[in-house]
Amino acid sequence: MRQWLRTAPPRYGLVGLVVLFFAGLPTVISSFLASEWALALIFAIAIMGLNILIGYSGQLSLGHGAFIALGAYISAILAHRYKMDYLATIPIAGLVTGAVGFLFGVPALRLSALYLALATFALAVVTPSLIKRPKDLTGGVQGILLVQPDPPQPAKDAFAFFTSTLMTSDQWIYYITLFWALLLFWLAWNLLRHRTGRAMRAIRDREVAAAASGINVAGYKTLAFGISAFYAGVAGSLFGLATGFISPDTFPVSLSIQLLVGAVIGGLASIPGPLIGAVFAYFLPIESNQFVPSQAWIPSGLASTVEKAGPSVTYGVVLILVMIFAPNGIVGLATSGYLALRRRLRGAGDRETGQLPSDAQTG
């Protein structure tokens, strides 16, 4: 164990710190803030799924809000109508949504990247009206109100041990979300740095060459769709749990855009990217709502408009600027900055050709 600790790459330590940070967070922030961070983690899960699809397999989905809605409604209907334990419905929602995504991936194979973007965008726009229709099942525009679970006694005891306060259900939901986020990020990390990830990247970069090397192109592309939808389904299920209420208007087309912003700004085809992107994409509108009214120079008559429009404007500007200047997002910027620094400090690499000693991806 000590040997392993000494030789483990420094990023393991970083991962440990991040996990500790998220595990300890609810003990120092308010219960309300814990529920907001739970939603940010839910975004991270959904964006991880989107990242697997866009970043690794090169298929653009603008309709992930639809998969999230599906996951949320599966859980809500099972829990509300059939009185199932909500926590037990989470994996079911993930698996069913994943299966639907897998089936969706089959016709998607025939579409070019552009057409796929178009069809999924249309799906995202249509989603709210599709949900409204089966009124008996989904509750129509009224939506479904969900009961948030009380934390079980052992969790309460443990929480009281650290903070000497009573654990609220928001805090309990935070930990449920954290559990799923850790599990799914760990799964993604294992999946993507080995054979499957390599195959997906090969298909993304040179589909024909990948096929010629014996990679099952159709299989991996539909698999990516299925996995991605599984992540979205779990995220949707957790979303219903965290907000306690879902309705057709919970899943507007702007939700899909928000996820895309998160995926792009964090950095496509990276593991930490979705987490960073999720924090940004989730907290931006909230911060904007708090920031705008505090600014005296914005006339009070305009404040509500600016609050509503500000995030759109920022999302738009960020999407454009990141795609033009830093297509690999924050993680890409950080990686290239770190590599440049290391080059300078160690003088490694060939100065003439600018070749690095090892590939950033494999090294």
Partner: protein
């Protein structure tokens, strides 16, 4: 010849479907123009049209005559389209299609929010320049507004056809789109031709926005559903074919209207019909009605 009430109702839906279809056709044509210029579907086309519409009605509400405000807006939209191409699209002209699509989506989000800041989110009803009322024949009634929409769209589409097929500039644009390298060697400024494509698309789209505003309410999300119908129209017609966009627009307009007769669809799932058209065309006949099959380059 007398029609039964059912036939009259059916015909009525077809006629009004043609009028909305003409609007979809204009926006679909705008999509086709940019697709032909650079192989990209412009997700911001609807928002660009929405913004132009706001400008037009801001001018009108300040007392500018309708028939001066609208051409002025179209010219402004043309300039705006060129500006967007120069500032936002040109730096990434050679980027992968994925990046370009994300950028146009960013543009859509940006314009949507910007319109919200400038004009607010309160929906406003705007007047149509065409007088109220209409003409009836055989129990089928056409409003003057629908006739006006059809006439204006028809004129725009005709002008675009003449520009692209009968003028040197149109020929140069098509050459620049299809054979950029060869055109460059012949002295065509390819990048400016792409900018011209964006300008024209923006102008044509603006007309569709101005036409649709009196039917819907004018607000920043006005074009969100219209752009889906335009996608359906462009895909149905074959995304590279201007004629296809027009035919596709009319078919989508009529189909969506007739679909309201199906109980399952009713009034609130019309948008899903557009989605169904998109998916069906892409799976059954990806090149649409008028598109050509393109070999995939390896």
């Amino acid at each position: 010849m007398t029609l039964t009430p059912q036939e009259q109702a059916l015909l009525q839906l077809v006629v009004s479907g043609i009028a909305t279809g003409a609007i979809f056709a204009s926006l679909a044509l705008a999509l086709v123009l940019i697709y032909n210029a650079m192989g990209l579907v412009n997700f911001a086309q609807g928002e660009m049209a929405m913004f132009a519409t706001f400008i037009a009605f801001a001018l009108i509400s300040r007392g500018v005559n309708y028939w001066i405000a609208v051409p002025a807006t179209v010219v402004l939209a043309f300039a705006g389209g060129i500006l967007i191409q120069r500032v936002v699209i040109r730096p990434v002209e050679r980027a992968p299609i994925l990046a370009l699509v994300i950028i146009t989506l960013g543009l859509a989000t940006l314009i949507n929010g910007f319109a919200g800041v400038l004009f607010g989110y309160v929906p406003r009803s705007v007047d149509s320049p065409f007088s109220v009322g209409g003409v009836g024949a055989g129990g089928v009634y056409v409003t003057y507004r629908d006739l006006g929409v059809m006439a204006v769209s028809g004129v725009v589409l005709l002008l675009m056809y003449l520009l692209l097929q009968r003028t040197t500039i149109g020929l140069t644009m098509r050459a620049a789109a299809h054979h950029p390298e060869a055109s460059r060697l012949l002295g065509v400024r390819v990048s400016w031709m792409l900018a011209l494509g964006w300008g024209l698309a923006s102008a044509v789209g603006a007309v569709s926005g101005i036409m649709v505003a009196p039917v819907l309410l004018l607000e920043p999300n006005m074009m969100q559903s219209i752009i889906i119908y335009a996608f359906a129209a462009a895909v149905l017609g074959g995304i590279e074919s201007p004629l296809g966009a027009v035919v596709g627009g009319l078919i989508v307009g009529v189909t969506v209207n007739l679909a309201t007769l199906i109980p399952l669809v009713g009034g609130d799932l019309q948008l899903a019909v557009a989605l169904a058209i998109i998916v069906a065309v892409l799976i059954i006949r990806p090149n649409g009605l008028f598109g050509h099959a393109v070999g995939r380059r390896v």
